[in-house]
């Protein structure tokens, strides 16, 4: 076994009694099968086609320790929420992998919506959890998913019952950092929307301080018949953080799944979305934006599978890369045999601001049915010089003109977010990454992107 692999699992036996669901045999069996798979395959490396462009250097260099209760008590001055100052938003908050009831607020949950921590849920309704947990995603050849399965120690379990329409967004917040030694933590989320239900969920991963830590998160999502889930993800990890997050989603008949991943920080981050359109009329929108600086590395990898006829997907990923940052986009659309009338469209565009920035893209189509409409587009380039000159010739200073063009470049991605409040909040967050932000006049920081 490789030394790094060994290090990451060495505390497994010692940890086991303290991990959620330790009293349940099936949970332990699940953990052991994850451990075995991780031991067999080891840490992903660039020789694996799926990891060609992302080397997990940070994991090779650092020895991460398991989190303890002291880590969980770290002081959080400001809660990283998309809705600052709004008290009525239900949220569940974890700090360094520990549930923080003092920061969470689940009092306003509407009837028919259940939100628990992983351990809470395993205590409250283990039979129900068992019918979903680990049954949506495929662990094979995904060693970090397997590692999460072995070590999962936090995370939220959300259940929206049949026909329930949840108006308010629900936030699942993960804060990490401020530990004396580098730590690793493993959130495992499960989101189940039963038939005809609707909800908006937001996963936030935020980092405190400057020290390194490793967040390995897995979210399993089940969108039932005719249900509608908006699932947004914000990642603002600290400068030395390593974040590997994956989403495993299945979408049933006439159901909709919309996701948007905003990556705005982290030394090395990778967000994976594996979506299976399993019911006729299923529809997904998998979108994202990233803005990387310094020596940050950001990878967005998606695999969307059209399993049955009459399914539709749309993907838009846009990113800005400055300094020596590196962006990766790998997007695969698979149309299975007999999944006729599949409609898939994917777009990846990157803007390079610096001579040392790098972009690697691999948009893939894998198609086994003939009556399909699938396409992808990928571009990489710099700011449009003629547009820049035009703006400057009207007196707009160079730095501001550049920011305007970056903003306009990103607009196409943000427009994909159908929830207006989230769209504005995400765009605002993005604006704070722009260089020389002080140049922007108010309406740029405050207002909408669209031409209202």
């Amino acid at each position: 076994m490789h030394e790094i692999t060994e290090h990451l699992v060495k505390n497994f036996e010692g940890q086991l009694p303290h991990l959620p669901g330790s009293d349940l045999n099936w949970v332990e069996a699940m953990r052991r099968s994850g451990l075995e798979l991780f031991n067999d395959v080891g840490l992903p490396n660039t020789k694996m086609e799926e990891w060609k462009y992302t080397r997990l250097r940070t994991l090779e260099d650092t020895r991460f320790q398991p989190v303890n209760e002291g880590n969980g008590a770290a002081k959080v001055d400001q809660l990283p929420t998309l809705f600052t100052g709004q008290k009525e938003i239900p949220r569940i908050v974890f700090v360094n992998g520990c549930l923080r009831t003092d920061l969470s607020d689940l009092d306003n949950l509407p009837d028919g919506v259940l939100v628990h921590s992983l351990s809470g849920s395993l205590a409250y309704d283990p039979v129900w959890v068992r019918s979903y947990l680990g049954r949506i995603g495929q662990m094979d050849s995904r060693p970090l998913f397997a590692l999460n399965t072995a070590m999962m120690n936090s995370g939220a379990i959300v259940r929206v019952r049949k026909g329930v329409i949840v108006k308010s967004p629900i936030e699942m917040i993960f804060v990490a950092g401020l530990t004396n030694v580098p730590v690793a933590y493993y959130p495992r989320n499960l989101i189940v929307l039963e038939e005809n239900s609707q909800a908006t969920l937001i996963n936030i991963h935020d980092g405190l301080g400057v020290g390194p830590y490793f967040a390995n998160s897995v979210t399993e999502v089940d969108v039932g018949n005719n249900a509608n889930l908006r699932h947004y993800r914000v990642q603002t990890e600290n400068l030395e953080a390593t974040h590997i997050g994956s989403m495993h989603v299945r979408v049933a008949n006439e159901a909709n799944y919309e996701t948007f991943s905003m990556s705005a920080g982290g030394r090395l981050s990778r967000t994976e979305a594996f979506v299976r359109l399993e019911g006729e009329g299923a529809h997904c929108r998998v979108n994202g934006a990233y803005f990387m600086k310094g020596r940050e590395h950001c990878d967005n990898t998606t695999v969307i599978e059209h399993v049955v006829p009459h399914t539709k997907c749309r993907e838009v990923f846009k990113g800005v890369l400055d300094d020596e940052a590196c962006g990766v986009f790998q997007g695969k659309i698979i149309v299975h045999k007999d999944a006729q009338k599949a409609d898939g469209h994917q777009l990846s565009r990157a803007l390079l601001l610096s001579d040392k920035a790098e972009m690697d893209a691999k948009p893939e189509l894998e198609i086994y049915a003939d009556d399909v409409k699938c396409s992808h587009g990928a571009t990489s380039g710099q700011i449009d010089e003629s547009a820049l000159f035009y703006l400057r010739s009207r007196g707009i200073p160079d730095a501001l003109a550049r920011n305007m063009l970056i903003r306009s470049f990103m607009a196409e991605a943000f427009e994909e977010i159908t929830d207006e409040k989230v769209r504005d909040a995400m765009a605002n967050l993005f604006m704070h990454r722009l260089p020389a932000q002080c140049f922007l006049s108010e309406e740029w920081t405050r207002d909408k992107l669209s031409n209202e």
Partner: protein, 485 residues
């Protein structure tokens, strides 16, 4: 309507022909013993009276090869190849005394080429095309040699070039595809038998199209030809390559290497119509076409353009590439790949932009029918010094029937903000509306499909030299035969 009726007639004519190149020539051959070892390599080298440095190079490659593993990243997978169960040298006996002119060449061989539609007697040949005919491991004849020599163009079998201009061969052989490149290319470096050599001197525009016709005839024989084309400063050459093989039940290996080099302001246009035996309907037999083709635009403003029409072979593994080293150099790749029945293809290109203001264009049209599976795999890389570089890629796939597969796997890597990369790809089925429209006008379904596909491929077909365009268009029709209904 003239063009349409014409095409339809052609297609009809084709449908009766099946793989018309599947015959075997019965001829006495001289064959090296089965299997691969250093002695076989020494045998091949001795047969060609090669200088010591070349034998050393071959042996170096062979020893390196022994420790290499097969590339496994491509989509088509196949059983381990038993390299000891093949012949690495086979030549018609009549060729062993090296005929001086066409009149001395075995008439049986000449007949073979005639049957393939490639007459070798100069007076019968299409004016303007010089042909090098390679039969298994040796070059049978090269036409118009004298005429080309008048302007200083060297066009001859590579085994002859080793004798005639060893310095050029020594300088450039393996300089684009090193002997360590990949298992198939390394094997080729060890055992290559023949192939074409072209040198176009400074300032010369080659007065005619050059062409090589490869034929695998012998049983259980691999073909390992090696082509080297050098276009010196301010020169131009257009080169065509065609290939066929008899119908045999076992798979045969074709592992060729092609190296192109262009110096300042030079241009090479390389066109291939590949029609190796694809195996039968059930996927039995057929050629494994594992080819490494690469060009280096070494000079400023130089250009390499690859055009390929791939219709044959059981498995195609081929990525004609351009390394754009010289500033302002240009690389192009135009491809039509058609797979039918049980054929598999994993093909595409690599455009490596190193110099400033280098440009590349990729147009790929893939058509998959029957139970075939096809992958476009392409790499576009913008190096840190490739300021002002541009790439445009358009990849379209067409599926005919619901049992085939079509895949697109582009790799796009940019390390320069001043480089612009644009990639687009689509996959769709053949348009019912178009088919219905044509059929309503009285065109039968199969011809209608051929017409629509020809339209789909038009952009690439236009790139082919005239002499090849018609043949390629016919091929499109034949290859899809039996794919509808």
């Amino acid at each position: 309507m003239g063009a349409i009726t014409n095409t339809v007639a052609q297609v009809r004519e084709m449908t009766e022909e099946k793989y018309k190149y599947g015959f075997v020539t019965h001829i006495e051959t001289e064959t090296a013993p089965k299997g691969l070892n250093e002695d076989i390599i020494r045998f091949i080298s001795a047969k060609k009276s090669e200088p010591g440095w070349l034998l050393d190079w071959r042996l170096k490659a062979y020893r390196y090869w022994l420790n290499m593993s097969e590339p496994r990243w491509q989509k088509p997978q196949f059983p381990e190849i038993d390299y000891q169960d093949a012949y690495y040298y086979s030549a018609p006996k009549s060729m062993s005394d090296k005929p001086k002119s066409l009149d001395e060449v075995d008439p049986e061989l000449l007949k073979t080429y005639e049957k393939l539609g490639i007459p070798l007697h100069e007076q019968e040949v299409l004016a303007g095309v010089a042909v090098d005919a390679v039969f298994d491991s040796v070059s049978v004849a090269t036409t118009f040699k004298a005429k080309l020599e008048e302007v200083g163009v060297i066009f001859c079998p590579i085994s002859e070039a080793v004798q005639r201009c060893p310095d050029l061969v020594k300088k450039y052989l393996g300089s684009v595809v090193p002997y360590t490149d990949n298992k198939h290319a390394t094997l080729n470096s060890a055992v290559f038998t023949d192939g074409s050599f072209v040198y176009v001197p400074k300032g010369i525009r080659c007065p005619m199209e050059l062409s090589t016709y490869f034929r695998i005839n012998a049983e259980n024989t691999g073909q390992f030809e090696r082509t080297l084309i050098i276009a010196d400063e301010d020169s131009y050459v257009s080169y065509l390559e065609g290939c066929t093989a008899p119908m045999r039940d076992e798979n045969q290996l074709h592992a060729a290497v092609v190296e192109l080099i262009t110096l300042d302001n030079a241009e090479i246009k390389y066109s291939t119509v590949q029609n190796w035996y694809p195996g039968d309907k059930n996927g039995r037999g057929g050629i494994y076409n594992f080819v490494t083709k690469r060009g280096a635009c070494r000079g400023r403003n130089s250009k390499i353009s690859w055009t390929q029409v791939e219709t044959g072979s059981a498995i195609t593994w081929k990525y004609p590439s351009c390394i754009l080293q010289g500033d302002n150099s240009v690389g192009e790749f135009f491809s039509i790949a058609i797979t039918n029945n049980a054929q598999q293809a994993d093909t595409g290109t690599k455009m490596i932009h190193l110099g400033q203001n280098t440009k590349s264009k990729i147009i790929s049209k893939g058509i998959s029918a029957g139970r075939a599976d096809q992958t476009y795999r392409g790499l576009v890389r913008m190096g840190p010094k490739a300021a002002g570089a541009r790439n445009y890629t358009q990849c379209d796939s067409l599926l005919i029937g619901d049992t085939c597969g079509a895949h697109t796997v582009p790799y796009i890597e940019s390390k320069n903000k001043k480089a612009l990369v644009e990639h687009e790809a689509t996959t769709s089925k053949i348009s019912e509306d178009q088919l219905f429209y044509l059929r309503q006008r009285g065109i039968d379904e199969e011809s209608a499909v051929a017409l629509v596909v020809n339209g789909f491929c038009r952009e690439v077909l236009q790139q082919l030299p005239m002499e090849f365009a018609v043949e390629a268009q016919k091929l499109v029709g034949i290859s899809l035969e039996g794919s509808v209904g």
